[in-house]
Amino acid sequence: MADASLRPAEYLGFRDAAAAILGRHSGAKALDAFGFTDVYADGAGDLRPAYAFLEAQGSSCVSTPALGLLALAGIGVDPLAPDGGAPLFGAPVGRSSLVAVPGMTPEDRVVVDRPGAGLVAIGDPSAARRTPPAPVADDYLTVLDVDGAECRVVVAEEEAGALREGIVVRTQLGAAAELLGLTDRLLQDAAGYAGQRAQFGRTLSSFQAMQHLLAWAATERHQLACLLDIAVARSANGPVDPQLARAVKAMAGRVFHAVAQTAIQVTGAISFTWEHSLNRPHQRGMALDQLAGSSADLVVAIGRQARTEGVVPELFTLADGAAGP
């Protein structure tokens, strides 16, 4: 998007560096090249590079386990992983016993949050895996049904309580950053397509109806970038207000769906093909929206809280100094 001068320069620097790497590598290789785990090696201090990485991952639609690592960032490898590599977090989806693990490979170990028990490691993640009967457009998220899976408590409920909020905040902000990247990708592709394809002897982008659809999409995306930037800037100075993270995640899902619909409308029938470049990012975004609270559920929760408390949250103050580039 043509808003480089509007967003925090440092963040965009990380994002563009990540994009260059994700153009060549995927999976753990991409993470190593970026130094992803170094970001939180000394605790979960400044996670801006991690969010920037996820935004780049969204726009390139490459799969890595970054989001699963980010959720547990800073918690420390032991006791989560006494035997070495960091486990991935399986983020809750819906209200059931399902979790989704980003960028999981068969060797990965998975930790999930089971309120009442604590953080638990899934004994054999592959066994808990949902196996789709038909090919999927995007295999970024692996869905596990943890009900009945053999589990081992790695962080007991008493300590897990203090970690939970941070895990949710990081998952929500990370998924939102990725959704923003996906949104950018869809919007850019659609605008590019509209500038190329001609009907009635003119490019689609010359029709005001198409221009206005794309302009609304850009407006949606702009508000998301602004709100995400504020939350990410805040994350560098301490814990992020869970209400802010929830709002960012809810907005990311809603904006993503609106922009995806525009991209499909602008692109026409060709977008409704399995192979079309829009299909995979679209289905990936749909799935990411379900992670750590879908936009539909979060919006209701936000409304309920505002109504019952009679307070419309401000989420951040100008004095935070977090608004600027």
């Binding site: 808003d3 605008a191 794309l214 407006t219 709002a247 401000e314 103050t317 100008l318 608004a323």
Partner: protein
């Protein structure tokens, strides 16, 4: 002893401390301030109160924070002004009136008018004793503003203005009109336009308030017949009016969204009292829209505070703020239609009805929604016609 008054207004000064000091002052002075913040359906009273509030704020320095010295201010940036605005709303305010033009017109004067002129007119704008209106639109020149026909012809040290403006908000109460006039030919379109400040008490000026659909008379038609305006009241260059207009419109579409969103929060918060569980989804959606307006406004404020040009991105703010205002009032109508749609029973209801009807037209003022979308499409996304 803790510092009193606005204190350090430097760029890296402590904005949170400034906000806290202002909050304390509001609490200490609540006996004087509270009556000025109260809601009124009577528009004249709202304007009087806003003026009195400006005077009070200026007397104590708060209303001067964020304005440069030549404007009679104490220095600081738009962030200080925005903090003051938000704290006033937090204290229960809902009727900004003249404050809005202050955010739109005064920065434009500071930026483009001769320093002498700024020194002579802006301080009385800040303290509420004199107010301004914005004369761009004409009966035949709405969205196509560059087709406007009000003419200004040079005559010695003056310009002589003939023509008329319409929809000039608050000119009923205004002393000045910042008018966009034609000094060149019609064919020159926007290149033949000039911005000039017209004293509304000059001979040849007539102001006719317009009774609006919501019962107020905020808007007016203004006629100019051989009105003499000193050339020292030019705002910007002859032929450079379009640039000045764009600068002003970026405030109206952009930075003003901070003040407006504070008002939206006020109405939405009040509305939650009559909502039930079945509106949670819709309420949540409006809360999120409001968060989007706030975030986009905050970004623009920090850019303005850094002295950056605001550019076409201000259209995003206008689109977001007006869409939010309409969804907010849609929600209020859906949860309590009787209050919004039937003859009112109290001044508070009259006010709500006024605001509801006003929310229907917000996608027109300051450049319609369609014009904003076209701006984004062409100047942000780079889409081209043909």
């Amino acid at each position: 002893m803790a510092a009193r008054g606005p204190g350090d207004l430097s760029q890296d000064g402590d904005l949170a401390g400034f906000a806290a000091r202002f909050r304390d002052w509001l609490t200490e002075e609540s006996a004087v301030v509270a009556p000025l913040l109260a809601e009124h359906s009577d528009y004249d009273l709202r304007v009087d109160n806003a003026r009195a509030l400006r005077r009070l704020l200026c007397e104590h320095g708060w209303g001067l924070a964020g304005w440069p010295e030549e404007a009679g201010g104490l220095g600081g940036s738009i962030l200080h002004r925005s903090v003051v605005t938000e704290e006033l709303f937090r204290a229960g305010w809902s009727g900004p009136t003249v404050f809005e033009h202050l955010e739109i017109i005064a920065p434009t004067l500071v930026r483009f008018a001769e320093t002498e002129f700024v020194r002579s007119v802006v301080p009385s704008f800040l303290d509420g004793s004199r107010s301004w209106s914005q004369g761009f639109s004409e009966p035949e020149a709405g969205s196509d503003l560059a087709s406007l026909r009000t003419r200004a012809v040079r005559d010695g040290d003056d310009f002589v203005v003939n023509g008329g403006k319409i929809w000039t908000t608050w000119s009923k109460w205004a002393h000045w009109c910042l008018a966009l006039v034609r000094t060149g030919t019609a064919e020159e379109r926007h290149r033949g336009l000039t911005m000039i400040a017209i004293d509304l008490s000059s001979p040849g000026v007539e102001v006719h308030p317009i009774r609006q659909a919501n019962g107020t008379d905020e808007l007016a038609q203004v006629h100019f017949t051989d009105v003499r305006v000193p050339a020292a009241q030019l705002v910007g260059e002859v032929g450079g009016g379009w640039n000045v207009a764009l600068y002003l419109l970026a405030r109206e579409r952009g930075t003003l969204s901070w003040l407006r969103h504070c008002a939206f929060r006020h109405w939405l918060t009040a509305g939650t009292e009559v909502m039930a569980e079945d509106s949670d989804r819709q309420l949540g959606a409006v809360v999120l829209q409001l968060a989007g307006v706030r975030a986009a406004a905050a970004r623009l404020l920090s850019r303005a505070a850094d002295g950056a040009e605001l550019g076409p991105e201000a259209a995003f703010n206008k689109l977001l703020m007006t869409r939010t205002e309409q969804s907010l009032f849609d929600l209020l109508r859906e949860v309590d239609g009787v209050r919004v749609a039937l003859p009112a029973d109290s001044p508070a209801e009259v006010l709500q009805q006024q605001e509801y009807l006003f929310s229907r037209i917000v996608t027109i003022y300051g450049g319609s929604q369609q014009m904003q979308l076209t701006t984004v499409a062409r100047h942000v996304l780079g889409l081209r016609d043909g």
